[in-house]
């Protein structure tokens, strides 16, 4: 139960900035993340990652090194503890060390960035992660992506084949299925998906970010990352995964335009698939349903109502309450899963 009294700052509603950062850095292969703060902050996140990854049949938790700030460091400063933690991280021979500062590190005034700048045999990136200073979970994701972008140089002249996928929600239960749907749509245009910045990506691939000509953001909240990619590396951007039926067709058009490909045949194919989908769920036509809009994501509501219109469902009160997904369904396949959930809900009513 949350109390949100602030009318000016939505970050009170979100999870911790640190968790947002870790949802990115923990998905860099051969990198180690150092968390500069008390062990409690690291434990909270190790436990969350343990739970989230187990849901996706991944039973190894990422390596998180805590600088273990206790009362002594709070009083005398924690930079020594951070240096020790970085040395410990180095002993694992990673390709990259990500150092994330926490509320405590910021409050006691440790210069985490300066410690990270010291010359070492392995690159060390500082990512701000304090919960109260940096906003919330989504700010953490942006901080991480922005900092990792610094590992790439605009001077790279090679060009990546394929489209870079940016900012996948790594803790999302359906993350891999959503990616697969985007890859399917791109394949209709004979476009490959390329770098996944960042999902199970080798840390060394951060240097290749600048060479991607095109990128697709997970959602429009990552527009600042898209702008940075455009201004620094000239990357062309699509500002979000395709949402719902109409969104999928629009996505094909955008991707085709971006890559200079005629998207019309792909759009026709997808329209055919969507017609089949609507026919499969024609038993839902005419059913009176209701939607609880109070906590729903506006994107979810928009997709849901469009689909209801397509099927001829009737929204009225009282009606059978429809279960809504937490995030807007990605692509035509996402809509199919939402409809299956609706059908189950209606059959139980």
């Amino acid at each position: 139960m949350i109390l949100n009294h602030s009318h000016t700052d939505i970050s009170r509603n979100e999870g911790c900035t640190l968790t947002g950062v870790l949802s990115v850095t923990c998905f860099l292969q051969d990198a180690v993340t150092v968390i500069h703060g008390p062990t409690g902050c690291t434990h909270h996140n190790a436990s969350l990652l343990h739970a989230s990854l187990a849901e996706n049949d991944c039973f190894d938790i990422p390596l998180l090194v805590s600088s273990n700030v206790s009362e002594e460091e709070v009083i005398f400063g924690g930079e020594g503890a951070l240096m020790q933690a970085i040395r410990s991280a180095e002993s694992y021979n990673p390709s990259l060390i990500c150092v994330v500062s926490t509320c405590i590190a910021e409050t006691i005034g440790d210069d985490t960035a300066a410690v990270c700048r010291e010359s070492r045999g392995v690159p060390v990136v500082h990512i701000p992660g304090s919960g109260f200073l940096g906003g919330g979970f989504s700010d953490g994701i942006q901080n991480a992506l922005m900092s990792l972008m610094d590992l790439s140089s605009p001077d790279l002249h090679s060009t990546e084949e394929g489209v870079m996928i940016v900012g996948e929600k790594n803790l999302e239960y359906e993350a891999e299925e959503n990616y697969a749907e985007v890859a399917r749509l791109l394949s209709l245009l004979d476009i490959d998906s390329g770098l996944r910045f960042v999902r199970r990506m080798p840390a060394g691939d951060c240097s290749r970010i600048s060479s991607a000509r095109y990128a697709i953001l997970r959602d429009p909240s990552l527009d600042p990352i898209g702008s940075a990619l455009s201004s620094r590396f000239g990357t062309e951007i699509i500002s979000g995964f395709p949402l719902g039926l109409e969104g999928s067709l629009r996505f094909l058009r955008q991707a085709g335009d971006m890559a200079g490909i005629d998207a019309l045949p792909a759009i026709r194919d997808e329209e055919g698939m969507q017609d089949d989908l609507v026919a499969t769920f024609s038993d839902l036509a005419g059913i009176s349903v209701s939607i609880n809009t109070s906590m729903a994501d506006p994107g979810v509501l928009q997709v849901a109502r469009t689909v209801m219109d397509s099927l001829g469902m009737v929204e009225e009160d009282p009606g059978i309450p429809l279960p809504l997904p937490f995030d807007p369904p990605v692509g035509t396949t996402g809509v199919r899963r939402m409809l299956q959930s609706w059908r189950r809900g209606i059959s139980r009513a």
Partner: protein, 370 residues
Amino acid sequence: MPECINPIWPCALTGAVAFLAGYTGISVVIHGSSGCYYYPKSLIRTPLFGSFILHDEVVFGTGERLRSVVAEVSKRGGRVAVVNSCVPALMGEDLAPYLDGYSALFVDAPGFLGGVETGYRIAGETLMGEAAITGDGANIGGVCLLDPFWRGNLHEARRMLARAGIPVGTVVAADHIKAVSHASPLTVMVNPDYPAIIGEDSGSLLGISSCSDTIMRVSERVPGADPSPLLDECRLAEERAITACEKYLRRHDPPVAAIAAQAGYASFFGEILTTYLGADSPLILPRNDSSGVAVTDYATIADALSSDEYTLILGSSYEHQMQPCAAFVGITPPQRGRVILGSPPLAGSEGMLNGVEMILNACMDRKKKV
């Protein structure tokens, strides 16, 4: 302090919140940033509130924000407990004036002070400043909402005390907040790693011999109490456990076990393994430092578990992941990937039987797979 790799035991703040959240009639506000709210909230399935402090409040003071949250929460009725987290604790603000006019309990339990048990003790000592011992009988202590066996232990302790004719004073920490004002002079423990807080610690109900000793000790001091039905019950329970273990051992060798748990539970299961199953003393990796050095570092635990061919692991889902081929008994939080709805105990005679049952079933299931 040396660095720590993937620490797997929660902080003092979480322990303090778990203590207070066990009481009805009091709303718990976590005074800190969002991360300090969401993690305890994910573990403790009761309503919790947060102040969600932000940058401006850290710079200019968190008191006004705290007061506005407490004002809002107070409208629900009952009292309010404020648990202070690392950042406001570091700022050194005097928050007491901001709680003036509210029936608020202030608990200073920043995470950097230690682990769960430390926070539980701090919260307990703060609340028990208001307690009064007015009744006969015994309190039930060592109940903590983070313990996967807390409800089962509570039911079993109540059953046993009732059977011996011993009235229950208050339950620490799962009771109405007003119950602390009519506590009993004695306390029996269901999980000795959480301190008694109030009343004289009269022993533990973990394990048959401790259980018998504790019930006899308390009965001697409570007028009208009769321990004999329970002592008979304990003897019968032990016979059943021995029979089941002997049958298992006719076809199988004793397990080679490692236990990763709070020290009290580790000792309880260690005794079952050595006494009833003839096993060698198990490797014990205690989560807390009540009887040695706590081992809460994932990498250290993984190394220790790979040092021998353990056939039985008792611990959390972390240890289960480290040794997926061993028989596994979940006794330590977290228990991810498993459904736990019922209330099995570890305390009391039923708890001992449940402990033996879990071990034997896990070992037999593993044998079927191998």
